[in-house]
């Protein structure tokens, strides 16, 4: 890098070319006041607090925006420079109120955050003449549940706007009007709580003076401690810092992590107080004798004391384990099953599957990966030999074009979406292919709102264009792909013209997008559950693999395949073997070598047949007694199948039919109501462990608080059960031996994380795998020269058109698509108990577009009954014109209107994933009065 030599405060200085004077001064320990400048935000240079004197220039220069030039003579401390620095601080301070909202530490006399700090630095006092001219006070805007807007403390520095627009690209905040009337506004100067604000809180994190503050942390900023951890919600894996006061998390800060760079979304920043909910279970519970497992208990109106009694841990653990042992003895190992959780740590997932495999004695272990990306994983394992992503999300920075298909990233992976929007700002073309036009559509170059269920038609048509217009990367295909000819021949039947009427996208548009994808310097595909949750989910992903392979858009920066993982640890839980067909690190249980290795490693005999998957286990619970594989007893840790499974009436019935059910959770979930024993577990901030995000980063979560009451770390509970099932496990050390568990898991997963010792994680917080040795920095981009398949080549698999299992008809004329919404996570167990998230989205809604509402004689807010062949629910309607005609969209997080009562349990034959994204329903106005605004 070239350097420049110049003079700073009379001293000869050498600095990298292009570096700002401000940063050079900072490097040298010279402090210059600054307010609009913040590390990580684009510089703006508007506050003028950092002015310095440059010899020969007519005016002063803003040091944050000016780089040093050779021979320049700069003074940060000349009389003239300091005069302006001080005047700027005095002018700003003159307009601020006596009392402020962001005290330095706990000092009320320094009430304006960074402005107070710099005023103290320069000993600035506001003269009476300027104090008299203080601007008119403005009323506080407290309309938002999470944030307070006190524009009396605003210095118009623009940091909130840049945070909202340049970083998060939510585009809610702007500066309106001009001159002294310049004002920070939300949308059309609307109250924040009524604006389009998505409450990512980036503005709050950016505000230097407290004009924008989290309501939970105003005034004194002093906290008892700060604990570094990782967010417990989605798969993006944002690093966070908890701020703890009086043994409560009062606020959360985004921390510099490879996936988030300090950014967070509403859940991570404002959704953490579920852990302090009065609903927490704090004592083991045992079902009272004679209380039937009636699914109607789930209605939420029952007092738990009518169903359960409190018990000691000894009693509860015995009550949990003895029936499991008895059932195993009576009906054999296959009569037991376990659901672990993608919300737990890697160590918990590892120990849980080890318990099922070595204690229960079968491979009947699964978790919610079955419900999200099972089909993606089956196609990826088949095609490229690895179920994980090829490139991290942030590789969109290097892509010229990205296809976002079957994904609503701004809601479900909000921070990942920010990187996509940032890329779009810099010119990357986003193609959104989704029946629903979601918020990312505003940033898209092309939007392809194809008909629900016609993914393969659209994708095969694109493949057709690529094959027939000579857009294939033949070198790549020759050197790295198998079954190319079969695929090329297969797609001949799928011309864009033939597929246009099927998928509803014009042939020209298909051609244009296919060409752009194929010819761009780097194209990347990211997808979500819109792709995977179909009976043809595996086929959908086979097409995506074919797209990337035919064009050679894989194995380089800005290319590849990225299934956006849903849960914070769905990647890690699968890696750790929490799936019925594989041991840790995707070693097949039926593979003799793997089987032998694990028998030796765990010192016990193991079942060599794959176990049953989530939905299959529910079926097996209801199987005839003559079925030797009928499931009689289950241990469910942190999963909520009574909300998350399809066709809930069936699934709940299955759970209720079990002879013995042990549920380990932090709340009395819908599933727990059907349990015999409920074990109170720890929430994420109450334990230490690792999780692996969608980018294959293993990240460290640290304990910040003690679990409430008698709740225990999950890792401890698993070990207690194991002990009572006759397993002699020894995991010494703090946090229930988490480091020892991790180190054992590392041996079982040497092929991916051999190089990530526990100590390394403690130090680095985040390490990407594959990481095979101590000095391996981790490999964010894989498949660069080979695929981890048997032959090292990608296997192309053609896909035909398969229709959804259940089609709309006269009785059920609409299509139901289920999914999530920004504020509510999965089954809502956590988020609906988070004060802010609940305040923003307190009740279930069904989204329909304007024309459909009109056709059905509905207005937004009306109560409707939505019915499928499997059940019906009642909720109110919301207008969302991004929803296509003929479709109802519903989040599944709401117990009182559980969307999965309606969904169809039909499975993809390969991934065994249910078809959550398509079933037939009917919508009618409910008789109850409208509760709309």
């Amino acid at each position: 890098m070239s350097t420049v030599e110049f003079t700073l405060n009379g001293q000869q200085v050498q600095a990298p070319a292009g570096r700002s004077i401000f940063n050079i001064a900072k490097d040298l320990g010279i402090a210059i006041p600054h307010l609009c400048h913040k590390e990580g935000l684009p510089t703006d240079g508007n506050c003028r607090a950092c002015m310095v004197e440059v010899q020969g220039e007519r005016t002063l220069a803003p040091s944050c925006c000016r780089s040093a030039a050779p021979g320049m003579q700069v003074w940060t401390d000349s009389e003239r420079a300091v005069k302006s620095q001080k005047m700027v601080l005095e002018m700003l301070l003159a307009d601020l109120p006596e009392q402020g909202h962001k005290w330095l530490d706990d000092r009320a006399e320094a009430p304006h955050g960074e402005l107070s700090q710099w005023a103290e630095h320069h000993a600035v006092q506001v003269r009476p003449a300027l104090k008299e001219l203080r601007r008119e006070a403005v009323a506080a805007d407290l309309s938002h549940p999470a944030m307070a807007v006190n524009l009396d403390a605003c210095i118009q520095c623009n940091r909130c706007e840049r945070a909202c627009r340049d970083l998060q690209v939510n585009d809610v905040i702007g500066l309106a009007h001009r001159g002294a009337h310049t004002q920070v506004v939300f949308d059309l100067a609307d109250p924040m709580g009524e604006s389009s604000c998505v409450a990512c809180g980036e503005c709050v994190q950016a505000c230097p003076t407290g004009a924008l503050m989290p309501k939970s942390h105003m005034g004194p900023q002093k906290v008892d401690r700060e604990v570094d951890s990782v967010c417990p919600f989605c798969g993006v894996g944002c690093l966070v810092t908890y701020q703890v006061r009086d043994e409560k998390i009062i606020s959360v800060k985004g921390r510099e992590g490879p996936a988030n760079e300090g950014r967070l979304c509403v859940k991570g920043r404002f959704g953490m107080d579920y852990i302090h909910s009065p609903d927490r279970i704090t004592q083991p519970l045992i079902r009272k004798p004679g209380v039937a497992k009636d699914v109607r208990l789930i209605d939420g109106h029952t007092d738990w004391r009518e169903v359960f009694r409190e018990a000691t841990w000894e009693e509860a653990l015995d009550a949990a384990t003895q029936p499991l042992n008895a059932l195993r003895q009576q009906h054999g190992p296959k009569s037991l099953a376990g659901f672990g959780s993608a919300k737990g740590s890697n160590e918990e997932a590892y120990l849980f599957q080890k318990l099922v495999r070595t204690g229960f004695g079968s491979n009947n272990v699964d978790h919610c990966t079955r419900l999200c990306h099972a089909s993606s994983v089956s196609a990826l394992l088949e095609g490229v030999g690895s179920g994980a992503v090829s490139n991290p999300v942030r590789d969109v920075e290097h892509a010229d074009l990205i296809i976002v298909i079957g994904s609503n990233p701004t809601n479900n992976h909000p921070v990942a979406a920010t990187w996509m929007k940032n890329a779009a700002q810099r010119g990357t073309r986003i193609v959104l292919a989704d029946p629903r036009v979601t918020d990312i559509g505003r940033h898209a170059w092309r939007v392809l709102p194809f008909k629900a269920d016609t993914d393969v038609a659209l994708l095969n048509a694109m493949l057709h264009v690529i094959v027939n217009e000579d857009l294939c990367n033949e070198v790549f295909l020759r050197e790295r792909a198998d079954h190319v000819t079969e695929l090329k021949v297969h797609v001949q039947a799928f011309s864009p013209e033939a597929m246009a009427p099927v998928c509803g996208i014009a042939a020209d548009t298909i051609r244009e997008v296919a060409r752009a994808y194929a010819t761009s310097k780097a194209s990347m595909i990211l997808w979500g559950m819109g792709v995977s949750q179909h009976v043809h989910g595996t086929d959908n992903v086979r097409c995506l693999i074919a797209l990337a392979s035919l064009t050679g858009q894989i194995g380089r920066p800005g290319t590849g395949l990225h299934p956006l993982r849903g849960q914070n640890n769905v990647q890690g839980a699968s890696d750790a073997g929490l799936i019925p067909m594989m041991y840790p690190n995707y070693q097949r249980v039926s593979h003799p070598q793997a089987h032998d290795w694990f028998e030796k490693f765990w010192g016990t005999t193991l079942d060599d047949q794959p176990g049953y998957t989530v939905v299959e286990i529910m079926h097996k619970a209801l199987a005839d007694d003559s079925d030797p594989h009928k499931v009689h007893g289950m241990y469910i840790m942190g999963e909520n199948p009574a909300m998350s499974d399809p066709d809930l009436n069936h699934a709940r019935h299955a759970l209720a039919s079990l002879k013995h059910l042990v549920v380990q959770d932090i709340f009395l979930t819908e599933t727990a109501w059907l349990a015999d024993v409920v074990l109170p577990a720890s929430a994420w901030p109450e334990k230490t462990g690792t999780v692996s995000n969608t980018d294959r980063m293993v990240q460290m979560g640290r304990q910040a608080l003690q679990p409430p009451g008698d709740a225990k770390p999950d890792l401890w509970i698993i070990q207690q059960i194991a002990q009572r099932m006759g397993l002699d496990w020894q995991y010494a050390g703090e946090h229930a031996g988490v480091a020892a568990v991790y180190e054992e898991m590392r041996q079982a997963m040497a092929g991916s994380i051999a190089g990530i010792r526990w100590e390394r994680l403690e130090q680095a917080s985040s390490v990407t795998y594959p990481c095979l040795s101590e000095d391996d920095p981790g490999q964010p981009i894989v498949f660069q020269d080979h695929f981890p398949t048997s032959g090292g080549r990608v296997k192309l698999v053609p896909a035909g058109l398969i229709a959804a299992d259940e089609q709309p008809d006269v009785d059920y004329p609409l299509v139901l698509i289920t999914g999530r919404q920004l504020e509510h996570w999965h089954t809502g167990a956590m988020t609906r108990r988070a004060t802010v998230l609940d305040a923003i989205e307190p009740a279930p809604t069904a989204c329909l577009c304007g024309p459909d509402l009109q056709r059905l004689g509905l207005v937004p807010g009306d109560r409707v009954r939505v019915a499928s062949r499997r059940g019906e629910i009642e909720l109110s309607v919301r207008r969302d014109d991004g929803t296509p005609q003929g479709v109802v969209y519903m989040p599944f997080a709401y117990r009182e209107a559980a969307a999965n009562v309606l969904t169809n349990a039909a499975l993809d034959p390969f991934g065994k994933i249910p078809e959550f994204k398509y079933c037939a329903v009917r919508v009618e106005k409910a008789l109850a009065v409208s509760s709309g605004a």
């Binding site: 240079g45 508007n46 506050c47 003028r48 005016t59 002063l60 000016r66 302006s84 005047m87 700027v88 002018m91 700003l92 003159a94 307009d95 009392q99 003449a129 300027l130 001219l133 506080a140 407290l142 549940p145 006190n150 118009q156 585009d171 809610v172 702007g174 500066l175 309106a176 009007h177 001009r178 001159g179 002294a180 009337h181 310049t182 506004v185 949308d187 059309l188 100067a189 609307d190 389009s196 604000c197 105003m218 005034g219 107080d273 802010v836 609940d838 305040a839 989205e841 307190p842 009740a843 809604t845 807010g861 909720l875 109110s876 309607v877 919301r878 207008r879 969302d880 709309g932 605004a933």
Partner: protein
């Protein structure tokens, strides 16, 4: 809702309090959603969305279309326009609210049938605009909105008024009332302007053609400008030839932006020339575009010049219909009531459809300008000179001048003189000579007391300095500058402090608000200057930080009137000099 006491500075919201709020499903997505009706109304005016979306840079043009049609911008249309343009609501609102000619109304408010703008800048104030404004506000009907307006660029016609889009010279209450009553709101016709046909008959566009055909070399043209010493006539005075040389060496594509946002109070030369000889300017523009090699030209015309816009639109259309040779892409853009957009980088932002906030420099517009491309930016008059200089040679121009200065300058003279107007005079002429020789002397009953040599920004000089040559660089020693050569003359009936307050109010009104020194400084200074006795120490401190630390020329020049009053007229403000 869980409203809180606005007065409390520390707010602790208890969980229970939040829980107790009404929990109800939200029937709509977050934020305002565009209604079908409003979207249809917007679409009817701006057209259907092209395949690649609406051009982002046309936002202000679209706002004009709506504002013209509905006499205001209704919130529903802002929301709908955002949806049509695939922008967020705030991206439209922040732009709309920046420009004074856009009046944003809630959907249930009524738009005024007519807006009457009364110029309140210095020359019009001297001519009694304050009382005219009060009179019109009192006498006109309730559906007529009468508002003060910053300089309308008609200082020689003071007091100037605009009724709808019609300019009214030497306005009287009766005259305005008559126009309002007759709903006579259209721009005046400009019959005297030279049209394309006449201009071409008189040899117009021949020079441009010669350059395009290579019959005259581009280098020779630049040399003429350099020998003539032509400098930018918008105020900054950067040598034109050098600018052409700099920009033509930048990587293509290069763009050009033409500044006719003539907003400096006291300045009306560009309007005067444009309204009489538009093609002379257009030919200069085409020559510059050819010599520098630009792909597209954006002409930015201030919104107040409705007559000139009508003329320019018509003449541009005529020219494009019968081009003398294949022309570069030319777009005419409309300002929207923001003085700051006369600052070159603010103008570039405005052409891009954004708030007119000046950019930090470096990088300079010549390197990174409009749409991120190297941009040749010129004031109208600079281009207006080109044909004459090249045809007649540098020598005849350079031979002019007085008191050791060379060249000619156009002065916009207004205030207490007998014959205000645009005066083409030798560079270096003194104020006294200018008034006596070109303006028929002082107005009846007035003797020279003070003058503003360069509009609102150029400072205020006392009569004893009326013999200083007026030109670039000659006034700096006296704390002033000539800028756009807008000379406003004060007499014994006027006070310098009133003039200073008038212009400081103007700056406060027109500050973009981006940087602290200007945003806070102009506002606080105004209030301090309203006081009988000035607080010299505070005003000097404000002046220093504004001059030293503001981002652009507006803030940097804003303290000039403060300093001039304190230096030359301390007796008026009770300040010890």
């Amino acid at each position: 809702m869980f409203a809180m006491q606005a007065s409390s500075s520390i707010t602790h919201i208890g969980l229970d309090q939040v829980r107790n709020q009404l929990r109800r499903p939200n029937p709509k997505l977050k934020g305002r959603q565009a209604s079908d009706e409003a979207r249809a109304e917007v679409r009817a005016l701006i057209g259907l969305t092209p395949v690649d979306g609406h051009r982002r840079d046309l936002l202000i043009e679209h706002l004009h279309v709506l504002n013209d049609h509905y006499h205001a911008l209704f919130e529903r249309h802002i929301v709908a326009l955002a949806a049509e343009m695939r922008l967020s609501v705030v991206e439209v609102f922040e732009v709309a609210s920046f420009y004074h000619h856009f009046q944003i109304l809630q959907d249930d408010e009524a738009a005024p049938a007519i807006t009457v703008r009364v110029c309140d800048s210095l020359s019009c104030q001297l001519a009694g605009s304050d009382s005219l404004l009060r009179q019109l506000q009192r006498d006109l009907g309730t559906d007529v909105q009468v508002i003060p307006a910053p300089c309308l660029g008609r200082c020689e016609q003071a007091p100037a008024v605009q009724v709808g889009q019609k300019a009214v010279a030497h306005a009287t209450g009766a005259q305005v009332q008559m126009l309002v009553a007759g709903r006579d709101l259209a721009p005046n016709e400009l019959p005297a302007a030279q049209r394309l046909h006449a201009y071409r008959l008189a040899g117009g566009y021949v020079l441009a053609q010669q350059i395009v055909r290579g019959e005259r070399s581009a280098d020779a043209v630049i040399e003429v400008l350099e020998h003539a010493g032509l400098r930018g006539l918008g105020g900054a005075g950067f040598p034109a030839g050098r600018k052409w040389r700099i920009v033509r060496t930048q990587p293509a594509p290069r763009l050009m932006a033409v500044n006719i946002d003539e907003g400096e109070p006291g300045t009306f030369k560009d309007r005067t020339l444009l309204e009489s000889d538009p093609h002379r300017f257009l030919e200069g523009l085409l020559i510059a575009a050819q010599v520098v090699g630009v792909d597209a030209v954006y002409i930015y015309l201030r919104d107040e010049y409705h007559e000139a816009r009508q003329l320019l639109q018509r003449e541009l259309a005529a020219l494009l219909a019968e081009p003398p040779y294949p022309l570069p892409h030319i777009e005419l853009r409309r300002g929207a009531g923001a003085y700051i957009c006369g600052e070159e980088s603010a103008m570039v932002e405005s052409i891009e459809g954004k708030r007119g906030e000046p950019r930090l420099r470096p990088p300079y517009i010549a390197e990174v300008g409009l749409f991120g491309r190297p941009t040749l930016e010129h004031n109208f008059e600079t281009l207006y000179w080109v044909r004459e200089l090249v045809e007649q040679g540098a020598e005849s121009f350079a031979a002019q001048g007085r008191h050791g200065r060379t060249g000619l300058r156009r002065f916009s003279v207004s205030g207490r003189v007998k014959q205000p107007g645009v005066k083409l005079a030798p560079a270096g002429i003194t104020l006294r000579e200018l008034v006596d020789e070109y303006c028929g002397g002082m107005a009846e009953g007035h003797t020279l007391y003070a003058y503003l040599p360069g509009g609102a920004s150029g400072g205020i000089l006392p009569a004893r300095l009326a013999d200083v040559p007026l030109d670039f660089d000659t006034l700096q020693p006296h704390g002033c500058f000539i800028g756009s050569a807008a000379v406003m003359v004060l007499s014994q009936h006027d006070k310098a402090r009133d003039a200073a307050l008038n212009v400081m109010r103007f700056f406060a009104h027109e500050s973009c608000g981006q940087c602290t020194p200007c945003r806070v400084g102009t506002d606080k200074a105004t209030r301090l200057m309203e006081r009988e006795v000035w607080d010299r120490e505070t005003l000097e401190d404000l002046a220093q930080v504004m001059g030293d630390a503001s981002i652009c020329g507006l803030g940097q020049a804003a303290p000039n009137p403060i300093r001039c009053v304190l230096d030359y007229f301390p007796h008026e403000v009770g300040a010890v000099s």
